[in-house]
């Protein structure tokens, strides 16, 4: 008995830790991360949350990832990512985008969905956290709090605008995780939600100024309204041409501020795209970069640049030899159009700074390994003497190339800091011109012609301009579409334009044949529909 008592005593002693709370303490000590609840305690933290969706927008609004840009341009009539020898097949993704044969589970479409909705999530989480906190507890004034919230709401509206552009019918979500499975809303309702969000916050938004480079402002809000109303007929069935013109006028008349003085067209075809384009007068909203002080730098080099591109530009940026101009597009620019040579690379390539004396020699074991790199305006296997031209027949030098935005040589103090313009005034001019013409049953008015000519004139020398400018007779709707193509090549809007002209699924270009009308909207990603039963597939796609 005594032994048993003894054993019991020792066992009890050994079990003591059970009762000592420190011995069952499983608290996580977070050293190198921040828990959301511990955030939003001072102004810097609040600003850093407000700005998070902006760095994220780089991922989806500019080329370089599976974002809005790739879906919009690689499915349209100007750009493609053909297979070039052993490179670029990439699961057939680019081929299917080009032929409009994408599947409900195609990676680029799903990736783009996630990128956009994560951006919306960054906005919403910041809105929720800032709204629920007292301004004083965050170390900011009530006015600042309101300004941050309206900034975020406008930027979220911008995301919704682009989500609606691609998929049409999507959920309207304003709270994280609630409901977990949000239902699909009609495109019309999404349109109304976006319009209301913009109109509710446009007054609180700051006028555009130097401080608001790369940020939402009154000017960006009006630009969003321009886009919304320009496409309203297609998106809701109800045209809003007058609203489009009214919003355009706010910008054209300088009522919403400007980044560098009053908003105005840049005087030439280079200022908007050069490394110092933060000095541009016409950019309304851009993704702002500064490689030198922040390491934040354009991501699109991978999409556009050849493997040896750095030699051409005198810097260290090379790419995947991906996106090229579709054969036939280059020749829609006439030779006196300065945009042709300035924005597009064609022909033999020379090393930077050698005055066309030292050729760029291709390396890396592709077709033209060891030979001078020459970008040609065709997509076929010239090396093998083939004339067959389609998405699978490229070589490493196929297609003429993007050269619109420039990063500068490595010695440039603004190297790799070129901002990506999302909205620029020229685009507003064209939008207004288009609205005027559409209001006028597709015939040009003098005001529309003047708007377009003002923009176009920059691309020509004075001596040829008179023969190149439009008149109310020559500026037909088709011509407007062609001019939009030349002016906004590489800028991401081509799919929207083709859809407004009714050509996206009906026209042919290069090896692309007309597709089905339901292809005007992308498929809701399969994986999301598997998770969220309230998400409806767009018409035409297999359920």
């Amino acid at each position: 008995m005594k032994r048993i008592t003894k054993i019991a005593t020792y066992a009890a002693l050994a079990l003591l830790p059970v009762f000592a709370s420190s011995c069952t303490d499983l608290t996580e000590n977070v050293y190198d991360q921040i828990i959301t609840d511990d955030f939003y305690n001072n102004k810097d933290e609040v600003v850093s949350a407000v700005l998070r969706p902006y760095t994220h927008a780089n991922a989806w609004v500019t080329p370089g990832q599976n974002g809005w840009w790739r879906l919009s341009e690689l499915s349209a009539d100007q750009l493609a990512w053909p297979q070039k020898g052993r490179h670029g097949y990439d699961g057939g993704n680019w081929i299917r985008l080009h032929y409009h044969s994408w599947l409900v589970d195609d990676g680029p479409i799903a990736d783009c969905w996630y990128l956009l909705w994560t951006g919306i999530g960054f906005c919403t989480t910041a809105i929720e956290n800032i709204e629920k906190r007292d301004a004083g507890s965050m170390g900011i004034t009530q006015a600042e709090k309101d300004a941050y919230v309206s900034d975020l709401r406008l930027f979220r509206a911008f995301h919704y605008l682009r989500v609606m552009d691609l998929w049409g019918n999507v959920p309207i979500v304003t709270q994280i995780g609630n409901p977990i499975n949000p239902p699909t809303a009609e495109r019309k309702d999404v349109f109304n939600f976006i319009e209301k969000e913009i109109l509710d916050h446009i007054d609180a938004a700051p006028v555009l100024s130097k401080s608001f480079i790369g940020r939402m402002s009154k000017a960006s809000a009006y630009a969003m309204l321009v886009e919304l109303y320009l496409n309203a007929e297609k998106w809701t069935g109800t045209p809003r041409w007058d609203d489009c013109i009214a919003a355009s006028n706010k910008l054209i008349n300088g009522e919403a501020g400007g980044m560098n003085g009053a908003l105005a067209l840049d005087p030439n075809i280079t200022d908007t795209y050069k490394p110092t384009n933060h000095l541009s007068k016409e950019i309304i909203f851009s993704i702002a970069y500064d490689f030198q002080v922040s390491n934040f730098t354009p991501q699109w080099t991978g999409d556009f640049y050849h493997f040896n591109q750095g030699l051409i530009n005198g810097n260290d940026r090379n790419g995947n030899d991906g996106v090229v101009v579709i054969p036939g597009v280059y020749t829609t620019f006439d030779d006196t159009d300065k945009r042709k040579k300035e924005w597009i690379s064609e022909g033999p390539q020379w090393k930077y700074g050698t005055n066309n004396t030292e050729p760029v020699i291709a390396s890396g074991g592709n077709e033209y390994n060891g030979e001078q790199l020459v970008f040609v305006d065709n997509i076929r296997k010239n090396k093998l003497g083939s004339t067959l031209s389609d998405m699978t027949q490229g070589e490493e030098n196929s297609g003429v190339r993007f050269n619109k935005y420039k990063l500068g040589p490595i010695t440039d103090p603004n190297y790799r800091s070129t901002d990506w313009a999302v909205y620029r005034l020229t685009w507003v001019y064209f939008a207004k011109a288009e609205a005027l013409m559409r209001k006028n049953n597709g015939a040009a008015t003098q005001e529309a012609v003047d708007l377009v000519n003002t923009c176009k004139q920059r691309a020509y020398d004075a001596e040829v301009w008179e023969t190149k400018k439009y008149t109310t007779a020559t500026l037909t709707m088709d011509e407007l579409l062609a001019e939009l193509g030349r002016e906004f090549i590489f800028e991401g809007y081509r799919r929207q334009e083709l859809i407004r002209w009714g050509k996206f699924t009906t026209a042919s270009w290069w090896d692309h044949k007309p597709s089905e009308s339901f292809r005007e909207l992308f498929a809701i990603p399969y994986a999301q529909r598997a998770l969220n039963v309230n998400l409806k597939q767009n018409p035409g796609y297999p359920n």
Binding site: R86, T125, I176, G177, R215, Q292
Partner: protein, 988 residues
């Protein structure tokens, strides 16, 4: 009661007898001498303890095996004890000389099996536990301690995907994949230290390796035990004289199997014939050959000193090891030591045991095989040099040879573990212990690329590149336990209970810079680069921790040596778990029946052992990232603030999951341990069925409404079942000749039963990124209910006349690649997990010679031959391609496509080790024993597979069966090599 009395009376009588003896002993003494020899070699045995039975009088034999002992009058018996030999009691002869011959005790070490928190008699084990002791280890010179048991334990898969690379660990899996995470490996416990560091183990310091295969054994380790538990026991000093052991080997690797690319001459000939349209640059370079280190030589030395007496023992060992891989700039040097001391006090009631081990290593990480494909595909009419002798660089490829000359990448690591265990016999049968351990692991990695190197010129404006990283990991454990043993009559109860507190903390720092004026500083003066000012220097640091707390207990009950039962419970919590699920319970129960002890089998003399075992256990897996359940704010890059300053942005980088919990595995195991014909045929058969539920994985989340597209959560479940058989047979036993055969066989089948719960629904998971040209996506897809490791791809239907691919669609028609829908037309076209694994060891002994032949094989699975797929296609030209491009795939004139066209049977049999050893029959007072051996490793592989060595293709985890040459999905190819090794073991 009657029995109890007789027990008592026997004790009394015995005590009385002893008392009488000792009284007599006082009266008269005499001196005897003698010599102790080994029964087998008839060699003298020094250090043998010689004791007069029933007294404390004793001595030890000297170097020549002789002893001299003064014995009390009336002594009748001497007791001879020596490590590794059977205890011998010998009557004292009437003359003054009593010689003794000791027989080696081959079974002594095997009788007891290490289980978690204790040991068990093998005959009483009720779970699936395999134990391998030193004499059965593989002998090819281990790069990692688990190489020693590769192929030795049925159900323990050890796959070395990177051949002779000394800087990699093998993939280890017990029975089957149990998780979707990358962390598939079993828990390794070294002398009681949980999550021990394998670097600290040297092959000659290991006594035995025990594998807890099933849940009923492993449950004692709770949430760390899903993938099984490997218990390593190191050697200790033994009572007896002091001894010194020296072990060494030298090894050399020879290239065995190289990918079949066109030779430079063949390539040039094809340019000449127009089959390859490119320019002949005039050189003929075998690029691969430039990377091979023909002078590789690996050496290993281990010197151990040990000894002890009844009250204390010690063992100290030091080692030096220099390993060189088959590839240049791929090596590892290490040295270190291990010390263990056991000491008793308080009248033998207190036992204290200390271990201290350390490892210093310096690894050259410049090559890991991942760079091979660039050089294999390099156009062979190029030279790595320019005309003027300088290195040839081009922007789109890496001059690998130049890289090896102009860059460095050195990892220096030091790991130390110390542990102490103090045990007190509190009252009879009750022992209390406290165990504490610490492992400190710190490393420094340093990289430098010279100014003239390709990396520097092409990416850092010729300013060199320097990088340093340091990391410190600390692991603490404190585990007090109580053990209780009670034998009542035919009942034996043993119980252990305890508390475990473990804390791990990791922290690290790294920095890089470039823009150096010269190569003098290398990575040693990072601030001398100019990028600190210019803003492109990099810096990072991190720190995280986790706590694991458990209460555990086990009770074993044995009745009459016939019936055994065991029950385990562990209650465990981890800081990693979500707020709503901090603690879990992990019970297990098992039972055994020694059938051969039943009277009805008494007449069956040929049965020496027959035991049935049945067990069920629940274990868990908490092996995921720290902080995985919390919503943390992640950085999103700098953006411009209204004041013009660029500041960091923050947003949530995880979706919340307060319900995050461990994965749970439930496992049944039915086993038979058998022994026939006096143990000449023995082994074990195990059948198991296991199911893992709440499988953790990164699942796609609803976006919207969540921010991030993925959530780490418990959703899926797995099932697997299998058979494991081991057979140990003594086929022939003659006076001078002995032939034994050991076979291990396992069969396994896996199934992913579900990926869905109320919230998350998924019909399939994709794994196994193919990579390489053309972004071919993933090779493996498992639908709910399908097998793990299923290849899911297009079905080849032939080529068109133009050499274009045609593939089958679901409806039986055919089409080109871009018409084939991944969801509709793809099909399961194979499986990458071997159905059967088998190994066989044949050991022959003839007098002092021994010969061991070890063969391994895997059967019933496919391998995706990515070599043929990515390098056997004209699209790859003018980079170098495989010969098969122009033979087997001559017809093909289309893009790279993944389909069953490239799936091959992966089955193989490998002659993995042949060792010829000779025990030199020294009769010398200085040398106790000496053995020399010669080993050939990886000698031959019989397979129909045409790619790399199929043995190097991963067969564990969830992305098995994909050959490597490109480096996607963490695959690294390494050339297969034959090794030849000379070794020597000497004992002094």
């Amino acid at each position: 009661m009657k029995r109890g009395f007789s027990f008592f009376s026997r004790v009394c009588l015995h005590s009385l007898w002893m008392l009488l003896l000792s009284l007599v002993a006082f009266s008269q003494n005499r001196t005897i001498t003698g010599r102790v020899t080994d029964a087998q070699g008839n060699t003298p045995l020094p250090g043998v303890t010689v004791q007069v039975k029933g007294t404390s009088k004793g001595t030890q034999t000297g170097p020549d095996g002789t002893y001299k002992l003064e014995i009390p009058q009336g002594s009748t018996t001497l007791v001879f004890t020596f490590v590794g030999y059977k205890k011998l009691e010998q009557p004292i002869s009437a003359s003054a000389t009593t010689n003794a011959t000791l027989a080696a005790d081959v079974t002594a070490l095997k009788d007891v099996v290490v289980v978690g928190y204790g040991t068990q008699k093998k005959t009483e084990v009720t779970s699936a536990i395999a134990s391998i002791s030193q004499e059965d280890f593989r002998q090819s010179g281990a790069r990692n301690p688990l190489d020693l048991v590769q192929g030795k334990v049925a159900g323990l898969q050890i796959t070395r995907t990177s051949g002779s690379n000394p800087n990699t660990s093998p993939a280890i899996q017990v029975r089957s994949a149990t998780t979707l995470n990358n962390n598939q490996g079993p828990l390794v416990v070294i002398d009681g230290i949980p999550n021990g560091n394998l670097d600290l183990l040297q092959q000659d310091d290991i006594e035995s390796i025990s594998v807890l295969k099933d849940g009923s054994a492993a449950a004692i380790y709770g949430t760390q035990a899903n993938a099984g538990v490997i218990l390593v026991t190191t050697k200790r000093g033994k009572a007896g004289g002091s001894r010194v052991d020296y072990n060494t080997y030298f090894r050399k690797e020879y290239l065995q199997r190289r990918p079949d690319f066109l030779s430079p001459d063949e390539y040039a000939a094809k340019i000449a014939s127009g089959e390859i349209v490119t320019t002949d640059r005039g050189h003929r370079t075998d690029f691969l050959d430039l990377l091979i280190n023909d002078n590789n030589l690996t050496q290993y030395h281990n010197l151990a000193f040990s000894g002890g007496n009844d009250g204390a023992n010690y063992r100290a060992s030091v080692y030096y090891n220099n390993m060189e891989g088959l590839l240049k700039e791929n090596g590892r040097q290490q040295y270190g030591g291990r010390l263990s001391i056991t000491s008793k006090g308080l009248d033998n009631r207190l036992t204290a045991q200390f271990n201290l081990a350390t490892n210093f290593n310096k690894a050259n990480l410049l090559t890991d095989g991942g760079n091979l494909n660039g050089y294999l595909t390099f156009q062979p009419t190029y030279s790595p040099y320019n005309e003027d002798g300088s290195w040839y660089f081009e922007q789109t490829s890496t001059n690998e040879l130049a890289r090896l000359h102009q860059q460095t990448d050195i990892l220096q690591q030091q790991t130390t573990s110390g542990d102490a265990k103090v045990t007190l016999d509190i009252v009879k049968g009750l022992k209390g212990s406290i165990f504490g351990s610490i492992i400190r692991d710190n490393l420094n990695r340093a990289q430098y690329a010279e100014r003239a190197s390709e990396l520097s010129i092409e990416q850092r404006q010729g300013g060199g590149y320097a990088y340093q990283q340091s990391e410190l990991k600390l692991k603490y454990a404190v585990e007090p336990t109580l053990e209780y043993n009670l034998t009542l009559d035919r009942h034996n109860i043993s119980a252990v209970g305890g508390y475990s507190y473990r804390y791990e903390v990791n922290q690290g720092f790294d920095a890089n810079n470039y823009g150096f004026q010269n190569d003098i500083f290398r990575e040693n003066n990072l601030n001398a680069g100019n990028q600190l000012v210019l803003g492109k220097a990099g810096m990072g640091s991190y720190k995280n921790d986790n706590t694991l707390i458990a209460f555990f207990g086990r009770v074993n009950y044995v009745f009459n040596d016939k019936y055994m039962a065991s029950a385990i419970i562990r209650r465990e919590g981890s800081s990693r778990f979500g707020a709503n699920n901090k603690w879990g319970n992990f019970p297990a129960i098992s039972a055994g029946w020694n059938v051969h002890k039943e009277s009805f089998l008494q007449d069956a003399a040929f049965i020496s052992q027959l035991k049935l075992r049945l067990g069920y256990g629940i274990t868990g897996n908490s092996g995921f990232d720290n902080y995985a359940s919390l919503v943390t704010m992640g950085t999103g890059g700098n953006y411009i603030n209204p004041d013009g300053v660029w500041r960091q942005t923050y947003g949530p980088n995880r979706n919340p999951n307060p319900d995050l919990r461990w994965e749970t595995k439930r496992e049944w195991n039915l086993g038979i341990d058998y022994g026939f014909f006096n143990g000449r045929l023995s082994g074990a058969l195990d059948l198991f069925r296991r199911k893992t539920v709440d499988v953790l994985s990164t699942f796609t989340s609803q976006v919207p409404s969540f921010v991030q597209r993925s959530i780490y959560t418990n959703v899926g479940s797995f099932e697997s079942q299998g058979i494991e058989l081991s057979v140990n047979a003594t086929i022939m036993e003659k006076k001078d000749f002995r032939w034994t055969t050991d076979v291990a066989f396992s069969n396994i089948s896996n199934k992913m039963t579900s990926f869905s719960n109320d919230i998350y629904k998924l019909t399939f998971i994709d794994r196994g990124d193919i990579g390489g040209y053309g972004a071919l996506g993933t090779a493996l897809r498992t639908y709910e209910g399908g097998r793990i490791g299923n290849f899911y791809g297009k079905r080849f239907a032939g080529f068109t006349d133009e050499g274009k691919w045609r593939f089958y669609k679901a409806d039986g028609t055919t089409g080109p690649a871009d018409e084939i829908s991944r969801d509709k037309d793809f099909a399961v076209i194979g499986n990458g997990i071997p159905k059967y694994q088998a190994s066989m060891t044949n050991t022959f002994r003839y007098k002092n010679w021994d010969l061991r032949v070890f063969m391994r094989g895997k059967f019933g699975y496919q391998i995706l031959n990515t070599l043929e797929m990515l390098y056997g296609n004209r699209q790859g030209l003018p980079s170098n391609v495989l010969r098969s491009t122009f033979t087997k795939h001559a017809k093909l004139n289309d893009s790279f496509q993944y389909s069953d066209y490239y799936l091959e049977n992966g089955s193989f049999v490998k002659l993995d080790e042949v060792t010829l050893g000779y025990n030199v029959p020294f009769r010398n007072k200085y040398i106790r024993s000496m053995r020399v051996y010669f080993t050939g490793g990886n000698l031959a592989t019989i397979t129909g597979y045409s790619g790399n060595d199929p043995d190097f293709v991963k067969d564990t985890g969830l992305n098995p069966g994909i050959d490597a040459l490109n480096n996607s999905d963490d695959r690294r190819s390494y050339l297969s090599s034959r090794s030849f090794m000379f070794g020597l073991n000497v004992s002094f």
